[in-house]
Symmetry: C2
Amino acid sequence: MPTELPGKDKLDLIADNLKPYIHRTPVMTSRLINEMTGSEISFKCENFQKTGSFKIRGAMNAVLSLSNEEKAKGVVTHSSGNFAQALAYAAKQAGINAKIVMPETVVLAKRDAVLGYGAEIIYSGSKPADREIKCEEVRNETGATFIHPSNDLNVIKGHSSCAIELFRDTETLDAVFTPVGGGGLISGIALGFKNFSPQTKMYGGEPAGADDAYQSMKAGKIIPVSNPDTIADGLRTSLGDITFPIIKEFVTEIFTVIEDEIISAMRIVWERMKIIIEPSSAVAFAALLKNSAGFKNKKVGIIVSGGNVDLGHLPF
Amino acid sequence: MPTELPGKDKLDLIADNLKPYIHRTPVMTSRLINEMTGSEISFKCENFQKTGSFKIRGAMNAVLSLSNEEKAKGVVTHSSGNFAQALAYAAKQAGINAKIVMPETVVLAKRDAVLGYGAEIIYSGSKPADREIKCEEVRNETGATFIHPSNDLNVIKGHSSCAIELFRDTETLDAVFTPVGGGGLISGIALGFKNFSPQTKMYGGEPAGADDAYQSMKAGKIIPVSNPDTIADGLRTSLGDITFPIIKEFVTEIFTVIEDEIISAMRIVWERMKIIIEPSSAVAFAALLKNSAGFKNKKVGIIVSGGNVDLGHLPF
């Protein structure tokens, strides 16, 4: 466990500093879905967040945490997903340079969104090692600060602002379900609740086709995912040396769900709540649906992590 | 023009009486969409309304307006769309019997929703005349009150509650765009604004493939639609002798849009706002998009009429 985990006052200050840059997203409820699960669910709607996902919280906090010298040299990350847009947007807000390493095979819409925020794209091969080498090259050449999409304490601290808002907008929750990919979101949510509502239990939802957090919790050490296979494209990454200790300490259990369960949960939310959530977000709800017997009459929060989907390739 | 059009106090009372039965739906905004159109748009989100559309407002008011003797004999309507669910739900809330005449070819999900609210379905042939004959039969046999999905003053009065909420949640709007099918919604919205904010101009959006309101306004008399052909399934019906005079009096202009414009507008809202709106709702936004030059720097309301779509048959 890193010794420098922040306390309540520090997290509150971080959340306050983020306010000018992010939306305070709504908490939504659905009577029909409550009837379906037997629990009272508060959906924290980060699909309505700027850039379409929670990632802006961590990206913005990481950028705001830079020194002036660091800001002058810019930031670099590797991401073909939501963090790419988030860091590009955060850098634009702060008036600094951002370079995003992406595989040449990236979806055009995602590339265009990053370019639209004024960031520079640097193409790499499609293997994880390729992008890391490219990031290292950029750092060496420019002095830019590398910001990891999940395994970065400033990113995690930024995400805790989402937990603080959810805590303030709901009565005390018994449990919160969060999707788990690299573990940055659930670490931030767990850190927030640990400080603001320690009695609230933390659960993770993870695709069975990328169940490294489940395996890592069982083994007591990081077991990286190999050949992830899931529609939940935000959750194909592995835990890191910063996220894993936080999750091990603060998360009660990781539940896995199969692809059909993810797609079915996503469809239920689209049809019943009329909101667009991405497959990664549906994983957290699918985990509750699958284990609803254990949460009857409980107040449950679900972190709807984002709403960026390719409408041309829906699973329905 | 019917002489019995209600004034401000009466409409306010109707809206108050509806409150226990409906949601006060949110007004949403999108910076990206404002930049796209150059206007400042308030989306009134009836896709989040109970039963998934605004129709519950009119249906509930019609049911609440019945005498006790009428209530004892129940209600009947013909609808294979949102009004079917709305009247079934309204009747359930009031504890009265509802019979819904639907064509045998109705989509299963819509049938199931109506049955789920405890209403009885009576199947008819698929031609408009078939369902009217069947409704007449039910009225004669049971004494049930027939409630037309749009051409009914109590239905229209109920819909005006949507205008009152939008008026109260926004600064004074310059214009409001509403989709036009049978004309019940736009009549109610126009009646509401006429009383609460008469300087706000009313515009209708209509599919070119079902442009009876556009044609009727031009001709100064009702020109019913023949062979409507549009994805906007809620807008295939024609104006009636109650809705047309109200529209003629209070609506500034009806804009038509073609199918590609409807689908494109729907996709923009799904992608940018992360909310599910049905094609009929997209028609109002498409009408603004097409005519945005005339609404630069204006405050514009758009009535998002509903969010009931068949995810198995999306146009993307």
